[in-house]
Symmetry: C3
Subunit: 126 residues, 3 copies
C-alpha cells in the first residue's frame, strides 16, 4: 500500500496522474486500485486533451452553479461536494506484463474541486 500526495494549485483543475501511478506498478498481472481520501475531490479516467478538460469543468460549472446551497451555511464548498459526488473516489485498472492496461486514449485524473490543497491518494494492488 502506497500513499501518494499531490499538491493542487487552483480552485478547480484536472491533473493527469497516469505517470505517477504507472511508475509504482510492481506486479506482473493483477488490478491497480487508486483511492482518494477526500469529499471535495475525485478521480476518473478519460482523455488528456485540453479542450475536453475545459469542457468538463465548464459543463460541471453550468450543471452545479454557485446557488444558495444549504451546505454553504456550514462551509463554503457546497458545489465542490456536489461535483465530486458525480464522479468517484476510486478507480481500478487491470495490469498485464507489469503495465496498466489503459486504452489508447485513457489517462488517470485527479479532479480538484476545492483547491488549492494537498490531496492524499492510497494506491494498492490486487
Amino acid at each position: 500500500m502506497d500513499i501518494i500526495k499531490i499538491k493542487t494549485v487552483k480552485k478547480e483543475e484536472l491533473i493527469d496522474i497516469t505517470e505517477k501511478i504507472s511508475k509504482l506498478v510492481n506486479l506482473d498481472e493483477g488490478i491497480c486500485f487508486v483511492y482518494i481520501r477526500h469529499a471535495t475531490a475525485a478521480i476518473f479516467i478519460n482523455e488528456n486533451e485540453d479542450g475536453f478538460k475545459e469542457d468538463f469543468l465548464y459543463f460541471l460549472s453550468k450543471l452545479i452553479p454557485e446557488n444558495n446551497w444549504k451546505h454553504n451555511l456550514i462551509d463554503d464548498n457546497a458545489t465542490s461536494h456536489l461535483k465530486a459526488n458525480l464522479l468517484s473516489h476510486s478507480i481500478f485498472i487491470p495490469i498485464k506484463d507489469k503495465k496498466l492496461m489503459l486504452g489508447t486514449w485513457q489517462k488517470i485524473f485527479l479532479a480538484e474541486f476545492d483547491g488549492p490543497r494537498e490531496r492524499e491518494l492510497v494506491l494498492s494492488f490486487i
Copy 2:
C-alpha cells in the same frame, strides 16, 4: 462475505452506513468492497452534513424531474432508475490496522430513490 439488510423509511433518503460497515471489518490490511443489489438505490462516499444531503437530493430532483419518462409506462419509478444511474452500485475503501482508511470528511451512504424498502448490501474483503 456478509449480507447487510437496511430498511429505508422514506421515498428518498441518504443513510449513513459507515458504522455498520466499520464494525464488520475483520482483516488488518486490504480493501473493503460494498455492493448494493438494486437498480433504484446506490451507494456513495461523501460528507455527512444535513445541508449537503438536502442539497444533493434537491439537485437530483431538479436534474431529473418527474416528466413523461417512458419507463413509467411499465413501472412508476423512472426517476429512481435515472438517479441511481448517476451514482454507483459499489464502493471500495482501503483498510489499514483493521480500520477503514476513510478521509476526515468521508462517510459511506446508502442512497434510497424508491423507498421505503428493505435493501440488501453485500460486503466482502479483498
Copy 3:
C-alpha cells in the same frame, strides 16, 4: 484475465452484456471485475427495460447537447467523452456458488457513445 470484444452498431446504444459475462464466471466465490478500455464508452448496472434505456439516452442528450464544445476542435466526439465521464469504466459484482450476485432487476450494460466501433473489455476475477 479474459478479453471480450463487442461490436456496437449505432452511434449511441446500451447493450446488455450480462449473459456474456455470466458465462465466463469460473470461481465459486469472489468478485467479478469488468473494465472497458475506452474514453467514449462506459459500463454500468441497471434494469434492462426498453423504456429506461430510451429515457437514459434521452436524458444524457438533453444534459449534454451538441454545443460548441472545445474538444470538437480536435475530434468530433466531445459529447461522447462527457457522457462517458458521468458513468464509469469499471464494475464489480460479487460471486457466490459460481453465479453473479446481481439483484433481481440488475443487468450489466455497455454504454456506447461514439459508435459504431469494436469495444474491448477486460474481465478478471478476484
